[in-house]
Symmetry: C2
Subunit: 259 residues, 2 copies
DNA sequence: TGGTTATTGTGTTATGCGTACACAATGATA
DNA sequence: TATCATTGTGTACGCATAACACAATAACCA
């Protein structure tokens, strides 16, 4: 091991110890935030996961500072992991079973038996929709990897984090019936088949091409451009973009779809 | 003031002081639960409210014991206020703005400046549907009144409790499109007009009598009895009751209504 | 006692939405 | 230039919802 790595390791241990002993001066104890961050890439719905030093995977999470709201904490967590701002973020459920303490894996660190991290946590779950290509995944200081996972290939996660992913997806699917989706997950300009594949991927079922187009256009939130997307091996499809004002109105008022 | 009242007052003060100083040995600090308890009576949707000693109104709430889940805490809170068991109870949102500490009004009590109640709280909101006539409202030891309020006449509540009522009602309305309602809010036997008025009251809009009946019967969760409800001034309507098995199946699978 | 009245039970019709399906147009490739 | 997969657009059918009409009935009162 090179000298640099030794120093880096020692530094982290010191940092961790300080966090376990004094973190509650910065963060509200017993309340945490976990984010299920959805992205869309190559016709797959992805979730952003972190890998702890011990090899186990978990959701990106964080704690609530004394002067910020829980919502703000979620926004900050998301920003720190993805370097994105102005993201679609929505609270979906709060997980409050006993034995959710986050400090279990630090029991080998001396003098931290009474750490605020060793006690019970209640975690507020949020899900986010982000534009895959704009994200540069960043591990936090407790993890050494931050990676996208296909929603169908999520590994075993710590605590109840698998349940969180399931519940987030379920909430997203239900929401799809009443609100538009896509502005946050696709590029600014996109084709109708791309939008359709997004819906099909989230719902995990095929949709009729023509009926889908009719329905989407009838919402009145899409603007068809004169450009077409060339380069594909077949007929060039039109490009669309969302009319942001109308899109946001639909986000507030809700729609009447039904897939 | 009679002697009895003086003792009662002094007792409570002592009890309160002990709660402020040592409550965190029983309850998880910084996490609370608030319940929006809906009832239905005389064609009005009601909410159960508590009145504090200082006259202000609030939602029935509680704290989470160290060995119970947040859900269990909500069940217990509900039981303590209504003396009911096996109630329909659903988490709807978690409220986490700063400055939600619950101890503000106890600042005149000596030596409690460092009470766990004086610090920030995150509150998990639940709503419940209960059968009005079966409830015997019971104030908790911090309140001296527990009373039903018409949903349209809810007074100004502490903190963000008015927002909680709004959000709970909104969630209930949305849920009405996908799941049946009534088993928990009506008597065992009820007439079709009674069920309709329940829906109309929750949604706050009139529904067509004939279409409503058709829709309800098509769900296949109702059983028409041979009895009729007599005593009214007009044609005696049939009595119905829910087929509990089918009702519960619908609660799990969801429906496709749309009001 | 029989008429009055408001309410309930049970339809019918019309409209719109979702579903299923067909065919022409197009752009790259061979 | 023919091929092929894909896109753009249109039509017919069925079902669910919305809108509406009329007969039956239980209490009340003249």
């Amino acid at each position: 091991m090179a000298n640099r790595d030794i120093w880096a390791t020692m530094d982290r241990e010191k940092q961790l110890r300080d966090f376990l002993l004094n973190g509650d001066k910065i963060y509200v104890p017993r309340v945490s935030v976990d984010c299920v961050i959805f992205g869309f890439h190559e016709d797959q719905l992805k979730v952003l996961l972190l890998r702890w030093k011990d090899g186990r995977w978990c959701l990106p999470g964080g704690f609530v500072k004394w002067d910020e709201s829980v919502d703000e904490s979620a926004v900050r967590t998301l920003q720190e992991r993805t370097a994105l701002r102005n993201i679609y973020l929505q609270q979906f459920h709060t997980f409050g079973a006993p034995n959710r303490e986050r400090g279990k894996k630090f029991k080998d660190i001396p003098d931290t038996k009474k750490s605020w991290m060793r006690e019970r946590f209640v975690s507020v779950g949020y899900y986010a929709l982000v534009e895959f290509s704009k994200v540069s995944p960043r591990p936090d200081w407790l993890s050494d990897e931050c990676q996208w996972y296909d929603i169908h290939k999520v590994p075993a996660l710590i605590y109840d984090h698998n349940e969180m992913v399931e519940k987030a997806l379920e909430t997203l699917r239900i929401r799809l019936n009443d609100y538009p989706v896509g502005y946050n997950l696709l590029h600014e300009k996109f084709t109708m088949p791309e939008l359709q594949r997004l819906y099909e991927t989230i719902l995990d079922k095929p949709l009729d091409r023509r009926n889908f187009q009719k329905k989407m256009l009838s919402l009145g939130i899409l603007e068809r451009l004169k450009e077409r997307k060339t380069g594909g091996a077949h007929k060039a499809p039109y490009l669309y973009r969302f009319d942001k004002k109308k899109y946001e109105r639909a986000m507030k008022q809700g729609l009447k779809l039904g897939f």
